[in-house]
Symmetry: C2
Subunit: 141 residues, 2 copies
């Protein structure tokens, strides 16, 4: 199977497949004409990669998962541990984004959004926290 069909079957772009070969994630044979020749097990690997990448595993994690995939004696606990760590990572990212969202939406709410130049968003970004209703008892010099 040529790279074009492997691309179609796996859902990975041709360029990406070549890249994956470069970094040793897949090792297709070569035909006499120099074309890559993907056999069924190569295709399985590509599909595996497509799916695990889309689930947010890094290339290195995919490498690890692939070797477990191909180890008929693996312990499922190993796979579970990697997946669990990934969930925690995703949770961290969600939390981060949520607090980001909170700040941004506070800014948007505070901004009247009209033709006038004064803008609480810019003020905040530039480090001037409008006193609003908060009291700064010491009073900035």
């Amino acid at each position: 199977m040529n790279i074009g069909e492997a691309s179609e079957q796996s859902g990975l772009p041709v360029k990406t497949i070549r890249y994956y070969e470069d970094i040793g994630l897949v090792r297709p044979l070569r035909s006499e004409n120099g074309y890559r020749d993907f056999v069924d097990s190569d295709l399985q690997r590509l599909k595996f990669l497509q799916r695990s990448r889309s689930l947010g595993f890094s290339i290195d994690e995919c490498r690890e998962l692939l070797s477990l995939y191909e180890d008929r004696n693996r312990a499922s606990a190993d796979v579970k541990a990697i997946t669990h760590a990934k969930i925690k990572e995703v949770d961290r990212k969600i939390d981060e984004l949520r607090s980001l969202r909170k700040v941004l939406s506070e800014l948007v709410t505070a901004c009247h959004g009209d033709d006038r130049p004064d803008c609480p968003i810019i003020d905040d970004l530039s480090g001037q926290h409008a006193p609003d209703q908060a009291d700064e008892s010491t009073g900035r010099s």
Copy 2:
């Protein structure tokens, strides 16, 4: 002010500040000895960049916000629009991560996680959806 102090004051690493100069985000003067000399307005820009980057704005968005920041006649609506778009982007990312999390946690739940080699996570990644209790009325050929 030398770059070291600018770094301390702005909270940006020295390397990052040099990089920001490279890409034209800040243009400090130079002293006779060739050292960068940051004046107050440079520092303001750096602080602005630090804050807006940490809020998830891309370099290009920061550039845009900076020019609004320095435009005394800007309309706050413009700033609000950019911020609003960023919120929507954050929302999209959160949604993506949430659905990712869902799949991952389903996998973890399905995996018994012991010494045995059979592993629903690997099965899923390799495209073999275990029939479980779901009915596939058509039955895959």
